[in-house]
């Protein structure tokens, strides 16, 4: 479902150039649960941005569901993000002035339109039916992350991308989030790529890709 061919990413740093990814080749199948691990500065986040179509590679090819997306315009990339990608961020990234329900509905705003029933179902799926009218500030960290997961679920994306989803959570909330994600995988066969330092998350994954200095060092299954 995902194919990365010789992906490189170079950032200009003044006169010098910083090569963050050096010829990455990965294949990810439909329904796989993949962890990307590696020390800081290894290129994990850059890779996640590329996978999420937030950024374009300097060279190489990225096929998402057999369509090459590496060199699309920003408008087309936005459309792909809207329809195919569900992001889950370390810092949740909810809009603080919106209720949980409205935050979930925001996930549908730019793709086909808001469907309140589906938003409520998504919140039920992450166990927040009682918290629909609460604003992020009235929710615990774990609950906020679950709202963010519901926001991703609601548009039924082809690919879930999670960036340190438990990084800001205590271990109990972290466990809850992990179990929601693994359940989603088990029940619906979602494809999930998660960037993490957390060995606990990695242990739930089918594949672990280790990055170092912009290269894949090892892959375990």
């Amino acid at each position: 479902m995902i194919r990365l061919q010789d992906i490189t990413k170079v950032y200009p740093m003044g006169k010098r150039e910083l090569t963050v990814l050096k010829g990455i080749n990965i294949n990810i199948k439909q329904g796989e649960l993949v962890a990307i691990m590696g020390p800081s500065g290894s290129g994990k986040t850059t890779m996640l941005n590329l996978l999420g179509c937030l950024d374009a590679p300097t060279s190489g090819k990225y096929y998402l569901e057999d369509r090459e997306v590496s060199h699309l315009s920003s408008g087309e990339l936005a459309r792909i993000r809207g329809q195919k990608i569900g992001f889950i961020f370390q810092t949740f990234n909810l809009l603080s002035r919106l209720t949980a329900l409205a935050n979930v509905e925001l996930g549908m705003t730019y793709t086909g339109g808001v469907d309140r029933q589906r938003a409520l179902e998504a919140l039920a799926k992450v166990g927040l039916s009682e918290r629909v009218k609460h604003r992020p500030i009235e929710l615990s960290g774990g609950e906020q992350q679950r709202v963010a997961i519901a926001r991703a679920i609601v548009k039924n994306p082809s690919l879930f991308l999670a960036d340190e989803p438990t990084g800001q959570l205590d271990s109990k909330s972290g466990e809850e989030v992990i179990s929601i994600l693994t359940n989603l995988h088990a029940e619906q066969g979602i494809t999930l790529v998660v960037v993490t330092h957390d060995a606990n998350i990695a242990s739930h994954c089918q594949r672990i890709i280790h990055l170092k200095d912009g290269e894949i060092v090892t892959e375990e299954s």
């Binding site: 941005n49 999420g52 937030l54 950024d55 920003s74 408008g75 936005a78 459309r79 993000r81 809207g82 329809q83 992001f87 961020f89 990234n93 909810l94 809009l95 002035r97 919106l98 925001l106 996930g107 705003t109 730019y110 793709t111 339109g113 808001v114 926001r151």
Partner: protein, 410 residues
């Protein structure tokens, strides 16, 4: 439909989060629009009142005065070039002329009992009433008989009646002026408004024949009796320009003015006067509007300022929206509509307040004001335009944000 509802929900959220800030931004536009509406309504009101005054003089009137006309409305000299004989010649020789009314005015002390006032007395012929569209409220005009006999009778304006006679009925009362004592036989209907001294409300009319007994009416070296104004009406509204030309030619001939010599009189039709006044007052209205538009411009800059702050503040929100699939166009229109909605709301409130101010000015009797639809449409569309114009840059800025960096911002 649902999509639009959604869209406006988004915009409303943006605005309602900072209610005070949004209100203050709107206030800037409100003040600008209210200033435009009220100032332009003053201009339009002045125009309407002057034009209705001229209208009341009769729309097909041509007025000839002695002296050369200098542009800007200042008449040069006190030359006494127009005569009774000129008036008679016009009546006989110029086609299209229906009535000719020569008159001679002089300032005299008017005494009634213990009251006295300095007033302009005008000696007129009986044609004068019809030429000037005058209407009587009590008593009667004087006609050909009184004129021929030189009867000492007077028709007075409403202000004069009030000043000299108060609430008493002036008809039948006697008033001393210059060398004669005249009996009031009629009081004119008030014209209202108008420029002091030029309205018939302040006038006293006696037969021109009686005038010659009250004051010594000057004569030209040729022995013709001098008049101060000749007013005439045309039989045909359409051809007033031809009538003006014919009359000019006749007078130049009678006054023996060779080619290249300036007219020693000035001739103007009410049409010409109203066209001139219309264009002058329109310029004044636009000038007032332009001054007020500066306030509107300042309001617009306020909108831009706030939108820039708002974009900066919501960088992270923009990043989130982009990650969720918002295109540049979605972000761009969100902020642009936000700005336009601010100024549109300001425009509407401004129109209501401006309208209110102009109503108050009008009802206090300070000045006549007139709010016309074109002013309202202009002010509201300019306010929306300002929102779009000043909202464009901040909105464009927002749409161009890199989603990765935007997501990382605090």
């Amino acid at each position: 439909m649902k999509k639009w509802l959604n869209f406006f929900n988004t915009v409303w959220l943006g605005l309602s989060t900072h209610k005070l800030r949004s209100s203050l931004t709107i206030l800037g536009v409100v003040i600008g629009v209210a200033a435009v509406i009220s100032l332009m309504s003053v201009g339009r009101g002045a125009q309407a009142s002057i034009l209705s005054n001229i209208e009341s003089m009769g729309s097909d009137l041509i007025i000839i005065r002695p002296g050369a006309f200098t542009f800007g409305g200042i008449r040069g000299g006190t030359s006494q070039t127009l005569t009774m004989e000129d008036a008679e010649a016009i009546a006989e020789q110029v086609s299209n002329v229906s009535l000719v009314a020569p008159s001679y005015s002089s300032n005299l002390q008017v005494v009634v009992g213990s009251e006295n006032m300095n007033s302009s007395i005008t000696g007129v012929t009986p044609e004068y009433w019809e030429v000037q569209n005058l209407v009587i409220t009590s008593g009667t005009f004087f006609y050909e008989g009184e004129y021929q006999r030189g009867s000492k009778v007077a028709v007075i304006g409403s202000n004069v009646a009030e000043t000299l006679f108060g609430t008493a009925d002036p008809v039948g009362q006697r008033m001393r002026m210059g060398g004669i004592i005249a009996t009031v036989i009629g009081v004119l209907e008030s014209e209202g408004g108008g420029m002091p001294g030029m309205s018939s409300d302040d006038a006293i009319y006696i037969p021109l024949t009686a005038m010659q007994q009250a004051v010594a009416q000057p004569r030209t070296p040729q022995g013709e009796k001098v008049v101060s104004t000749i007013a005439l009406t045309t039989t045909d509204d359409e051809n007033w320009e031809q009538t003006v030309d014919d009359t000019t030619a006749l007078l130049r001939d009678r006054h023996r003015l060779g080619p290249g010599v300036d007219d020693d009189f000035n001739i103007m039709s009410t049409q010409e006067i109203s066209e001139m006044i219309s264009s002058t007052t329109e310029t004044m209205t636009l000038l007032l509007g332009a001054i007020a538009a500066i306030a509107l411009l300042v309001g617009g800059i306020g909108v831009m300022n706030i939108m820039l702050v708002s974009v900066l503040e919501r960088t992270r929100e923009i990043g989130i929206r982009k990650a969720l699939g918002a295109r540049e166009r979605d972000i761009w229109s969100q902020f642009l509509i936000e700005a336009a909605l601010l100024t549109f709301t300001g425009g509407i409130i401004g129109v209501i307040i401006g309208w209110g101010i102009s109503y108050i000015i009008d009802s206090m009797g300070v000045m006549e004001t007139l709010v016309t639809l074109d002013i309202v449409i202009l002010a509201v569309s300019v306010s929306i335009g300002i929102g779009l114009f000043f909202g464009f840059y901040p909105a464009w800025n927002a749409s161009r944000l890199n989603p990765i960096e935007a997501l990382r911002s605090e």
